[in-house]
Amino acid sequence: MAAATNAARERAPVLLVLMGLALALLVAVPILNTLPEDSPYRLSDFSVVLIGKYLCYAMLALSIDLVWGYCGVLSLGHGAFFALGGYAMGMYLMRSIGTRGVYRDPILPDFMVFLNWKQLPWYWYGFDHFAFAAIMVVVVPGLLALAFGWLAFRSRITGVYFSIITQALTFALLLAFFRNDMGFGGNNGLTDFKDLLGFPLNTGATRRGIYVASLVGLVGTYLVCRRITRSKLGRVLIAIRDAESRVRFLGYSVTAYKLFVFTLSAMLAGIAGALYVPQVGIINPSEFSPANSIEAVIWVAVGGRGALYGAVIGAFAVNGAKTWLTTSVPELWLFVLGGLFIAVTLFLPRGLIGLIGLGGGAPRGLGLDRLLPRLSVPKVPKPRRGDG
């Protein structure tokens, strides 16, 4: 362990240079967008929005890496927190449409007028203020994660059980948000947004502004996660990941640590969702689909879990490939994605960063088998040569 940390420290300058370079490229995106139309170096508005979306995905990946890579808690429902943050932002954008909707109702969003609702439901109150919406973006996912995590961690639901239950959670939310009488626009979700804080959403300047906000969000998330993982708290988290029972026997409250990091991670995912919605211009229940959450997990796995930059790299790499493939050979994409799941788990347990020898943060082999001390799994010596 100490040797690994030393090795990581020796590699640190290389890493810093690489990260600085990546950051410089990301900062350059909105600047290149302001170049005149005919300049060969100009980036289109489309690219700005696309890379802006990737930034949000990278934030989501970071939040998953924090709980999975460092604490060994595999959540297959992080898409739900992302979507809840997105809905909170969507509700603000919906309220700020005002009388510019199709039905020109100053208070009720279009879909409510369409459903013949007379009054704004109580849970829509306050969303006309940006500050309130911004608080809700972190509070709603945070509260859900707190309640859910408390129930789950308290009774020591770990490993795959936790994964399946989180999947059921996001599935339940998917079904719930599809209902029209939930008051969140049902199947169509929230869309037709006009402006954010008074800036019209369809102008290049606003897009660049949101992009910069997303970049700041990503860097901020990275720094928060880095601060946590490098602290003593982070050491306890890694200890929980590698030997939960031992940490508990040493007197640490595993439940409290897990609950803290799970809730924080949900809040970060919520922020990512909130930054995502004004860029894509729509939020609908399909964001809750279990497939989305598990796809986000694969970004982390591809990049390399247990290392924060791994999650970011994974989010960019997989989504870049997705954008490229779904436009050029759409029928291939699911094969590639499915293949990624198989290849990464079988051949690249430490992800891309393991491949290029940068996976200093993750201990060899990751000890995933030890994450499930309470499951009735037949214990198998891992290289099973000569068996039977």
Binding site: L340, T345, S376, K379
Partner: protein, 536 residues
């Protein structure tokens, strides 16, 4: 007696047609006399209809039917009645051909008042019809158009009738008619007769009767008792219906979850591609059906029976292949198994989508599986769902038999309990792993055969069942087939009981939340394995 009358009537009509007797000869006939009134005003018509109905002459049925259908014509000149068939007019009494229907005829008009009287009269006349279907229809008709005038006719019909179904309907109609009577004892008898029915219309009738002003106290008490009895019977039927639907859903969950109980429960492998095994089983059913249609059309009724072993072999073999090539490398790493099998499921879906197309494929139900069994007036039970329940239990029995009574089952249990010692005892554990996974997948394939009968066969068929099946296994207790059985049926029934109150979607959410809370209390499910094996 009936037969004699009807034969006599037929003979009579035949004579009329054959002899084409002059109209004058029949002018004294009471029937023709009464029928003539149909050409008059609305009041005349009502009087004529009543007279015709009182005569009980079967010839009146086609005549009144024609009036009701708007096919009765009145000659503009001499007010002679004719019935229109295929644009030709026939004499209403003699059935003689009179020529084209558009030559000087007017349609006899009716208003709502006439129509009401007409319907009752037709009902009364048809009650005496020799045709069973017509009598039944008429018995229902007199229930719908209640009139106190019908009372003696229904009583007469009831005395004559021997068919049990028509008798039952007549009893109800009689009761409904008796309710209209002035005499309390008649009404009391009516209420008693109606108490045996479970028809919602009858219930509405009783409620209306109860709410009408100045009800005789005795009648009121009888009404309350009748409604109480009817409500409890309806509730019972509803309960039976709901439980049946729950069992049906439960059997589907059971089929989908049994394979998981083996791969997840016994082997500890999280197979997210399990739903795709179910989907492949359904597509095997489709392919088998197409093969039978192409080469053995005569036996295509039984292609479903062939597809059961076919699906088992196809998905079981695929399962063994996957275990050997991929899954065995990830034993003891359940989270990664989960991710990898999710990837597998995506690939399998996409393969099927590119082979068979993204749209639903049609799998026909064989005739011996279709149909429904009526259970009282309000409840029916569809046969294919009964078959699926039977099939689910049968498969469970087979699995229990395999694990308990075969050498392979013994080896499987030995490897689950202690791999090292099993290996020392000479059991080829790797082989056992492969075949156990194959068994689990094969069962999923058989579930697919069953699902093809009630669900759409499409590439995402499996997706809709995977989360539910995991819930069943987690709820029932991992590694316990009885737990899976109880969990599946319990979840199915609870789901169906919640549905009427909260709608299907909310019911499902409630169940998911309930399971999450339930797991708080019993983290190992309903039937937890005990002992040291749990803590490894």
């Amino acid at each position: 007696m009936m037969a004699f009358v009807s034969r006599a009537c037929v003979l009579l009509v035949a004579c009329l047609v054959l002899l084409a007797a002059p109209r004058g000869a029949w002018a004294q006939d009471a029937f023709a006399e009464a029928a003539a009134g149909l050409a008059g005003s609305f009041d005349d018509k009502i009087a004529a209809i009543d007279k015709l109905a009182a005569l009980g002459d079967p010839r009146a049925v086609p005549l009144l039917q024609a009036l009701s259908d708007g096919n009765l014509l009145v000659h503009e000149g001499d007010n002679k009645l004719a019935i229109e068939r295929d644009k030709t007019a026939y004499d209403a009494v003699t059935n003689q051909k009179l020529g084209p229907s558009d030559a000087g005829y007017d349609t006899a008009r009716v208003n709502n008042r006439v129509r009401g009287v007409l319907r009752g009269a037709l009902g009364r006349l048809q009650l005496a019809s020799p045709d069973r279907a017509q009598r039944l229809a008429a018995a229902i008709d007199v229930f719908k158009t209640r009139s106190i005038d019908n009372l003696p006719i229904i009583q007469g019909a009831l005395a004559r009738e021997s068919d049990p179904e028509i008798r039952a309907q007549l009893q109800v109609s009689l009761g409904a008619t008796q309710l209209l009577s002035d005499k309390p004892e008649d009404r009391l008898a009516g209420v008693k007769a109606l108490a045996g029915s479970s028809d919602p219309d009858v219930r509405a009738m009783l409620v209306q009767e109860r709410q009408s002003p100045n009800v005789d106290p005795k009648v009121a008490a009888a009404l309350d008792a009748a409604m109480g009895a009817m409500d409890s019977r309806l509730a019972m039927l509803n309960l039976v219906q709901t439980v049946f639907q729950g069992l049906s859903l439960g059997s589907v969950l059971l089929l989908a979850a049994m394979g998981l109980a083996i791969t997840f429960g016994v082997m500890g492998v999280i197979n997210m591609a399990h739903g795709e095994m179910v989907m492949l089983g359904a597509y095997t059913t489709f392919v088998t059906q197409q093969v039978f249609r192409a080469w053995l059309p005569a036996a295509s009724e039984y292609s479903l029976l062939v597809s059961i072993p076919a699906a088992f072999v196809v998905t079981g073999f695929l399962g063994i292949l996957l275990e050997r090539c991929l899954i065995r490398f990830l034993y003891g790493r359940p989270l990664e198994t989960l991710l990898m099998t999710w990837g597998l499921s995506m690939i399998l879906q996409q393969v099927v989508r590119s082979l068979f197309g993204p749209t639903n494929r049609e799998v026909a139900s064989p005739s011996w599986m279709t149909g429904a069994v009526p259970l009282g007036d309000a409840v029916t039970i569809t046969l294919n769902r009964v078959w699926i329940i039977v099939f689910g239990l049968l498969v469970l029995a087979i699995i229990v038999l395999v694990t308990r009574a075969t050498t392979f089952g013994l080896h499987m249990r030995a490897v689950t309990q202690n791999r090292k010692i099993a290996s020392t005892m000479g059991i080829r554990t790797a082989m056992v792993d492969a075949f156990t996974f194959g068994l689990g997948s094969g069962i999923a394939g058989m579930a697919g055969v069953a699902l093809s009968q009630i669900d759409n066969v499409s590439p995402n068929l499996g997706q809709s069942y995977i989360i539910d099946s995991f819930m069943v296994v987690v709820f029932g207790g991992v590694g316990n087939l009885w737990g899976t059985l109880v969990g599946a049926f319990l979840l199915g029934i609870v789901n169906k009981f919640l549905e009427p109150y909260s709608g299907a979607v909310l019911g499902k959410i409630f169940v998911l939340v309930a399971i999450i809370i339930f797991i708080q209390r019993r983290p190992r499910g309903l039937f937890a394995l005990r002992g040291r094996a749990v803590e490894t």
